[in-house]
């Protein structure tokens, strides 16, 4: 017999500081063994909905709940703090801030101690969950030394250690690269079948999940459910086709560049060129030296040999706010004093930042922060822009915005070097691809030839972009 685990009827939710409800008239029920995904754009309240199911809300934000929420047949507000978490476990999105203990074993023990499991039983539970998740070898590893993908597996293992009936996933892939994400999903699928869990996930990149889910709940901007239907495998985000803006003059010439830090050779003699208006994607496995290359090009790292010729190289880190120094967007662009006030005004106009010019750079959205960072680099007279992982953790709207931003800038003769793991994005935006492995350059390839070469991509831990034929074709 199937029972409703969760039952929501006309549920609404409002943060005390907001005038409008974040969730409105939400009604649905979840049965045992279901694999449900909640999708929707950022700000549609999907994470809020998830937090109502594990009781993090309303207690943590003094939110105002309306309607009826029944968890395991009992009114949600009748649960004691922490009581529901034995039955509903959660994995969050950021692999770096989910842990409080140094080793995997201690982290698992922390979870079990919270549940007041007798000490004699803990050893067995820890061994059992490590066996189930295939992490036995990592038992004594230091969590902070593991890769992001492994951290997410450890977080899942901690959740499963509680022997929950329901597993909630809050955008668990957003900090993983596609290759690692795919491995994680395969692993999770096996786990779900073994443990017979009910899974409820919040996710905006559904294309990575293939056919994992069996039901999809779509949320709209107003915090309402817009559709509740069978899950269909999704296509990746589609970007408009773009015409290359590559010009004939060279913007960046790199010759025999090597980087050695503390007697460790991080990069060995890389040579390549980039033209004006070119978008060059740099790809390769984690730790292969992609970020090192960017930092060497813009001068953060000293190169031990080789030459770099360019009219000015700017750098946009993964968190653009790392660059910010001034109190307003306008002053941020004018900080170095390289550009005249009229040039700054023109830049603000070109980057659609005029309305934000008096805003504090920290208070604008992530996409706007990146525009400010690019603006600052252009104001400092750096027509070659290096971007480190700009796609990580972005939803499809943000990726479209980034795509448009890059596409417009190259028309003005800028050159982009982009480090990214997102091959769909890379395929849409790149004119050429630089593959790096173990600090050595495999080569600079034109985009059309690289996407079809599955073997070459696999040897760099990359997946061919979905719909590769389309991209290969459009360049031919």
């Amino acid at each position: 017999m199937h029972e409703d685990l969760f039952l929501l009827q006309n549920a609404s939710f409002r943060f005390p500081e907001d005038a409008k409800n974040t969730l409105n008239g939400v009604s649905f029920s979840v049965r045992q063994g279901e694999k449900l995904v909640i999708s929707g754009p950022s700000g549609s309240g999907k994470s809020t909905l998830l937090y109502l199911l594990n009781r993090l809300y309303p207690a943590n934000c003094d939110g105002i709940v309306g309607g009826e929420i029944r968890l395991f047949g009992k009114q949600a507000d009748e649960y004691m703090p922490g009581e529901i978490n034995h039955r509903v476990a959660t994995v969050f999105q950021d692999p770096d801030s989910q842990f409080c203990m140094p080793t995997v074993e201690e982290e698992l023990a922390f979870t079990l101690e919270n549940l007041h499991i007798p000490r004699i039983a803990m050893e067995g539970r820890i061994a059992e969950v490590l066996e189930l998740t295939g992490l036995s070898a990592l038992r004594h590893s230091i969590i902070q030394s593991l890769s992001s993908g492994m951290k997410q597996r450890v977080a899942t293992a901690c959740a499963l250690a509680m022997k929950p009936e329901v597993l909630l996933l809050d955008e668990p892939l957003s900090h993983l690269d596609p290759f690692t994400a795919q491995q994680f999903i395969i692993w999770l699928d096996g786990l779900q079948k073994k443990a017979g869990l009910t899974v409820i996930a919040v996710e905006h990149r559904l294309d990575l999940w293939d056919a994992f889910f069996d039901r999809e709940l779509s949320m709209g901007r107003s915090g309402r459910i817009t559709a509740d239907e069978l899950f269909q495998p999704k296509n990746p985000v589609l970007f408009p086709e773009r015409v290359s803006a590559v010009e004939s003059s060279t913007a960046l010439a790199v010759d025999q560049v090597s980087v050695e830090i503390k007697n460790k050779k991080l990069l060995s003699s890389l040579s390549f060129e980039a033209k004006r208006g070119e978008v060059l994607v740099i790809a390769g496995p984690n730790g292969s030296g992609k970020s090192t290359l960017l930092k060497a090009l813009c001068g953060i790292y000293k190169r031990s040999s080789g030459t770099i010729q360019s009219s000015g190289i700017g750098y946009v880190p993964q968190s653009p706010e790392f660059l910010f120094l001034a109190q307003t967007v306008e002053k941020e662009l004018a900080f170095s004093g390289t550009s005249s006030p009229s040039e700054v005004a023109e830049l603000l106009d070109r980057l659609a930042l005029v309305q934000l010019k008096d805003a504090h750079p920290f208070s604008v959205s992530h996409g706007q922060k990146r525009r400010v960072a690019i603006g600052a680099m252009l104001a400092d007279n750096h027509p070659v822009l290096l971007m480190d992982e700009p796609t990580s953790g972005q939803d499809s709207a943000a990726l479209q915005e980034l795509f448009a931003l890059i596409h417009e800038r190259v028309q003005e003769g800028l050159t982009f070097l982009i480090v990214t793991h997102d091959m769909e994005f890379a395929a849409a935006v790149a004119d050429s691809v630089l593959l790096i492995k173990d600090g050595k350059m495999t080569g600079k390839f034109s985009a059309s030839e690289v996407w079809g070469d599955e073997q070459l991509l696999a040897s760099h831990q990359l997946l061919p972009p979905k719909g590769a034929d389309r991209y290969a074709g459009s360049f031919a």
């Binding site: 476990a89 969050f92 203990m101 201690e106 979870t111 750098y315």
Partner: protein, 252 residues
């Protein structure tokens, strides 16, 4: 033998060290801190596996400070009527002044050595766990310390990244430390913004795993009080009482 200080229960060690420090504060003769200091160095020498290179490096500023205390007390100490021991370059040093100066500098040495003994032989994780188990520190506090400890390397990385990024924007590395200190706020703003986000995420993750801040009834690795601790407590107390007694006898 050399593991004794490392294996000791961290809470007991903490109580003994704090107790010794407070007791020393009531002795103003030069002998008590001097003898106590020597005894602590000997204890570290025989009962621990301290990295002595690191030890010397850490002691360097304290030694300089202690020397500073010595000569400032000699030069600027209040005049008194006791016998003048010697005069040099117009400065005469009386017996009282000499005693005060020695007492002060030995105290600096004793306290810093004692702190180092604790710091270099105690595993921070075990210390927090033990505080929770033996001294009933509320889990809410204990685990917030643990989380911050986990975040330290991440914050250090971020600090370096922000510094590198801002240098690209044309922020010069200032020559003087006070200028660098003033510019620190530029680095701190992005870091704080990130830290607030991280702290909330960590809190959610812990709560979602059933952490309520309530006292725990079970520990996976109980930190125990053993016979070693009794032995070490007796040793510490006798060293303390011994040096106090010797100090009183010798200064009369």
């Amino acid at each position: 033998m050399q593991d004794l200080l490392h294996e000791m229960n961290p809470s007991i060690k903490f109580v003994l060290v704090t107790g010794s420090m407070l007791t020393l504060a009531f002795f103003f003769d030069p002998w008590t801190p001097a003898i106590f200091w020597l005894a602590i160095v000997l204890m570290q020498l025989f009962l621990s596996r301290v990295n002595w290179k690191l030890w010397c490096l850490m002691m360097l500023p304290f030694t300089l400070g202690s020397f500073g205390y010595l000569w400032t007390t000699l030069v600027f100490g209040a005049d008194d009527t006791s016998e003048i021991l010697w005069t040099f370059a117009g400065i005469s040093v009386t017996e009282e002044q000499w005693k005060h100066a020695l007492s002060l500098s030995f105290r600096v040495m004793a306290l810093s050595t004692l702190s180092l003994l604790f710091a270099l032989t105690t595993d921070p994780v075990k210390f927090v766990m033990s505080l929770m188990q033996q001294l009933k520190l509320p889990p809410k506090l204990a685990y917030s310390v643990m989380v911050s400890y986990q975040f330290l390397p991440v914050l250090k990385d971020e600090f370096i990244q922000i510094q590198q990024a801002q240098r690209l924007r044309g922020v010069l590395v200032e020559k003087h430390w006070w200028q660098r200190l003033l510019n620190l706020r530029r680095l701190l703003l992005p870091m704080l913004a990130g830290a607030v986000r991280k702290a909330e995420r960590a809190a959610f993750a812990m709560e979602a795993r059933g952490f309520t801040g309530a006292a725990r009834t079970e520990f996976f690795r109980p930190v125990t009080v053993t016979r070693t601790d009794l032995f070490m407590a007796i040793l510490f107390s006798s060293v303390l009482v011994g040096s106090c007694a010797a100090g009183i006898v010798l200064s009369n």
